[in-house]
């Protein structure tokens, strides 16, 4: 044994703290701007890079990856060093991580407003930036796990478990959802299309919330809550149970973003029931946080840190109750595509993430700069302003979301929509849109107060040097368990068998299912009896597992990988057009494809869905409900997640070309009271026809049956189709050249909902349904 002094690397912690505060203010500033744009369309300024469709991705990416990203790196690096009693493994990797991440953010902040987008939510960044993200994430992972490998604390604390789950799961999700083939330096198509892309996207999207916004922040809670309260954590046992149930169950819940759509029913059911099962594991985290405060509640009155942390955990509990509620199929029929969803995510990001961030920063800054917090009063003011801001925000979104959901689904006794005019619904929630601006504005004010308070705190101090003395044995101690020891032991084997038999029961049929059920029940009983007898031994095994970072990491990976494989793989390997009686999507013409890419560039999917749900209200309003085969050539899919405007799945042919021409120039000219931005630049910019050659080549390699065309033939095709549209516009006295972008967009919009005949005719005639292009089959006469 020798004694060694270890100096923590707090420099990079300080950097991440400052970066998080800065990007947090930026993200919320953009948030308030786009909230205002939804209420006052003139705030789009007729300027491409200031338009809602481009700024909304900037807002979400900045809030998630810039603000919370820097926050979790700050918290993880600070707490991990102390929890494992070791300096971060590499100063170089730490700096590479910090500067690489900031560079990615800057690149995102430039490319998103310029319209470079992959058209998938929270995954909009273009492929060169995706590669940088993966590289920097690997740098983070190496730096983190290397630190674990050289740790001087044998056992891994619960916070570390959550950090491990974060790092490996985000890597898995991010890489899978960003598989793509470039068509140019700045553009690519994802390799998944249609329903496959929908499934992968929401597996990623939902678990970005789970493993980027939740698990790392739970880890942070487990360090800073007991530190600030100076109380022991409530229950180690609860930590174990809620950690493993959370990471295992969370990953299955993604399809709840696709309820009542064309997604196969079994996946919808899985998405719903796993969301319900997620309720208790989530609340396990809340309980462990709040009950840690037992005996310290009186400190809440004086300590802003605990105020923020306690409120943050409470908001976590609230939104993890609201989430399962919204995942119930019938509730989702009302809540989906409305402002309710927006309110829900903001109770998570503002209530949980931002408040946890604030609590952590107020605790950290005085310690990192060896000083006192500049003003406790200002921090208290931040708390109350922020709290009122959140409450106004989510309450107004509840009111407007539920109003939208009920009005859009309302049907009169004589079988027609009670509110046929979409704009009537839009304009009935105006007051709530204004309330949201107020709420968001207040929250932003609080953030600025925090930035000022921290700035003054930092100015008053000096970077602190923190170090500890550790006893280093002469021979490095062995890890508690080998990889094999991690797997072959009763708890893991029982868990594996239980999942296996549950799958056998749920997915197989007949005898296999029945036998699986019997085995499932038997295994559960045996496991319980065994636990009763050998509980102590199992506990000792788990303690050993905690001394072995690699087996722990592998087990965590196994737990998170199961759900995704079972849900996604069947959909990927099934030939989607085989044996269906459904209409098959028509392959895009080159001009339509160009129009589609402009649609994605402008972020139209942020406000318009392309998925008519199997609900009476949806079908009466938009036409036949969507089928899987109708979007198989859509790379990426465009089913959307919000209807600020109406669904467009069967928009083609509903209005004449001239309507779209005028509507895109000034939506109010055809739709009184519309909140959509004007798109004047589409009438000046020229469609990028040359780019189509490599785009079509990539899509053909995915199996999209484009007829073979030379670059000249592509150009010719575009001119011909463009001329048809401009000739039609000319009959209404409009003169425009066919090479303008608006013509491509009109070509795309008029094609939506046009499908070719089914591949296989059904044996029996389909139920009374008219041609797919007709908007409403359930004619009232």
């Amino acid at each position: 044994m020798k004694t060694k002094t270890i100096e923590y690397n707090d420099g990079v912690v300080r950097q991440f703290l400052i970066a998080s505060v800065f990007w947090g203010v930026v993200a919320m500033l953009v948030g308030v701007l786009i909230a205002s744009q939804l209420a006052f369309h003139v705030l789009n300024f007729n300027t491409p890079w200031l338009t809602f469709g481009r700024l909304r991705p900037l807002h979400t990416n900045a809030a998630i990856f810039a603000f919370v990203g820097n926050m979790i790196f700050c918290g993880i690096y600070h707490s991990t060093q102390r929890l494992v009693r070791a300096r971060l493994a590499s100063d170089f990797l730490s700096q590479l991580h910090f500067w690489g991440w900031q560079l990615i953010i800057v690149a995102a902040a430039i490319t998103l407003p310029l319209g470079f987008s992959r058209g998938k939510e929270y995954a909009e960044l273009i492929w060169p930036i995706n590669i940088a993200v993966v590289l920097i994430w690997v740098v983070f992972a190496v730096n983190f796990f290397w630190t674990l490998a050289i740790r001087n604390e044998k056992s891994l604390y619960v916070a570390i478990w959550f950090y491990i789950a974060t790092i490996i799961t985000v890597a898995m999700l991010y890489i899978t959802n960003h598989l793509q083939i470039p068509t140019s330096l700045l553009h690519s198509y994802p390799i998944f299309g249609g329903v496959q892309d929908a499934l992968v996207q929401w597996w990623y999207g939902h678990n970005a919330v789970a493993f980027f916004l939740t698990t790392p922040v739970l880890g942070i809670m487990y360090y800073y809550m007991p530190k600030a309260a100076e109380r022991p954590v409530y229950s180690y046992r609860l930590s174990v149970v809620h950690f493993w149930s959370l990471v295992f169950i969370y990953i299955w819940a993604g399809p709840h973003h696709l309820l009542n759509t064309a997604l196969p029913e079994w996946l919808q059911t899985l998405g719903m029931v796993f969301s319900l099962m997620l309720w208790a594991p989530s609340w396990g985290g809340m309980l462990n946080g709040l009950l840690t405060l037992r005996g310290a509640w009186n400190k809440l009155r004086t300590d802003p840190v605990l105020k923020f942390l306690a409120a943050g955990v409470t908001f976590y509990g609230m939104s993890t109750f609201e989430g399962p509620l919204m995942a119930i199929r019938s509730v989702n029929a009302v809540s989906h595509y409305t402002d309710w969803t927006i309110g829900h995510v903001h109770s998570g990001t503002l209530g949980w993430n931002s408040f946890m961030a604030a609590g952590m920063f107020y605790w950290l800054a005085p310690r990192l700069w060896n000083t006192k917090l500049y003003s406790t009063k200002l921090a208290d003011l931040h708390f109350w302003i922020g709290m009122v801001g959140i409450l106004l925000y989510i309450a107004s979104m509840w009111v407007s979301g539920i109003t939208q959901g009920l009005m859009l689904n309302a049907v009169t006794p004589d079988g027609v929509l009670a509110y046929p005019n979409f704009l009537e619904v839009v304009n009935s929630t105006r007051a709530m849109l204004h309330t949201r601006i107020l709420g968001g504005g207040l929250f932003l004010t609080g953030m600025i107060l925090m930035a000022y308070n921290l700035f003054r705190t930092i100015r008053s101090g000096r970077p602190a040097v923190a170090s500890i003395e550790v006893q280093v044995p002469d021979i490095a101690p062995k890890e508690g368990l080998s990889l094999i020891g991690g797997f072959f032991n009763p708890p893991v084997i029982y868990s594996f068998l239980l999942v296996l038999f549950a799958c056998g029961w749920g997915f197989a049929q007949g005898m296999v299912s029945a036998v699986s059920l019997v085995l499932l029940v038997e295994t559960a009983l045996v496991a319980m009896i065994h636990l009763g007898l050998s509980g102590k031994k199992w506990n000792e095994w788990y303690e050993k597992l905690l001394e072995s970072w690699l087996p722990f990491t592998v087990l965590t990976f196994v737990a998170v990988v199961a759900g995704g494989m079972i849900q996604i793989l069947p959909t990927v390997f099934i030939k989607q057009t085989a044996g269906t009686d459904a209409p098959i999507q028509k392959v895009y013409t080159p001009l339509e494809l160009a129009g589609r890419d402009i649609y994605i560039r402008e972020g139209c999917y942020n406000c318009h869905s392309q998925m008519i749900r199997s609900l009476v209200g949806d079908v009466l309003r938009y036409g036949k409900s969507g089928r899987l085969t109708e979007s198989i050539y859509d790379f990426p899919f465009q089913w959307g997640s919000k209807r600020t405007g109406p669904d467009l799945e069967r928009e083609g042919g509903k209005y004449p070309n001239i309507w779209h021409f005028q509507h895109l120039m000034d939506p109010r000219s055809t739709s009184i009271g519309s909140v959509m931005p004007n798109y004047p630049w589409l009438y000046k910019q020229v469609t990028d026809i040359p780019a189509l050659t490599s785009k079509i080549r990539v899509l053909s390699s995915y199996g999209v049956p484009f007829p073979p065309r030379s670059p000249d033939a592509i150009l010719q095709s575009c001119i011909e189709q463009g001329n048809l549209i401009t000739a039609d516009l000319a009959t209404s006295g409009i003169k425009i050249s066919p090479d303008k972008e608006v013509i491509a967009v009109i070509a795309y919009l008029q094609q939506l909902g046009r499908y070719s005949a089914p591949a296989a005719q059904p044996a029996a005639p389909a139920p009374a349904v008219s041609a797919p292009a007709a908007p409403k089959q359930a004619s009232a006469n």
């Binding site: 707490s79 899985l270 929509l417 409900s625 089928r627 209005y655 359930a778």
Partner: protein
């Protein structure tokens, strides 16, 4: 600090400490366990019920069935209005004001606030592309003329609102004469 906590401090506090953080090892709250088990059992039951009974048709088939039932019960299965009925409605101030509201929120953008036409044709003169009898108007509005950009309003507005808005248009067009009963 209450008595209970004091007692537990000695009882089930784990001996290990991480950077000064200690952990109790409290039993899981019963209500929390019930929530967890209850959700799991509910999930299994829900899966069994929906996957293995006829209850769970594909969504598109389910909604079409519901629409058929819906229409069976619908009140609008009666005969379409006749020329004279529509004309008579056009003289009823209550119908006219109801029709005007519908016109303002749905038709104005194409036919103009004065009905003199913008994207769509003028509705106040004697020129009718798809027939000028009240029932012609009714059919045009109900079925739409997709080639010309007239949407299919029947299923959107419903029969009675289509009749109201047609009556309003008739009241604004002096060239439409009272049809023979």
């Amino acid at each position: 600090m209450n008595h209970n906590t004091e007692h537990n401090d000695d009882g089930d506090l784990r001996h290990h400490s991480y950077d000064g953080i200690q952990e109790y090892d409290k039993k899981l709250p019963n209500w929390w366990l019930f929530t967890l088990y209850g959700a799991i059992i509910y999930a299994a039951g829900y899966w069994a019920y929906y996957q293995w009974t006829d209850h769970m048709q594909p969504g598109y088939a389910r909604v079409e069935q519901r629409l058929v039932e819906f229409q069976k019960n619908a009140l609008n299965s009666g005969a379409a209005p006749t020329d004279i009925q529509l004309w008579t409605m056009s003289t009823d101030p209550a119908v006219k004001s109801a029709g005007e509201k519908i016109f303002t929120s749905n038709c104005v953008v194409c036919h103009g606030p004065d009905l003199k036409g913008k994207i769509g044709p003028n509705l106040t003169d004697a020129t009718w592309i798809h027939g000028g009898k009240p029932t012609d108007l009714y059919n045009t509005v109900t079925k739409g003329v997709l080639d010309k950009g007239m949407p299919t309003w029947g299923p959107v507005l419903g029969a009675s609102r289509v009749a109201d808005v047609v009556a309003f248009v008739i009241s604004k067009n002096p060239t439409i004469e009272k049809p023979a009963p």
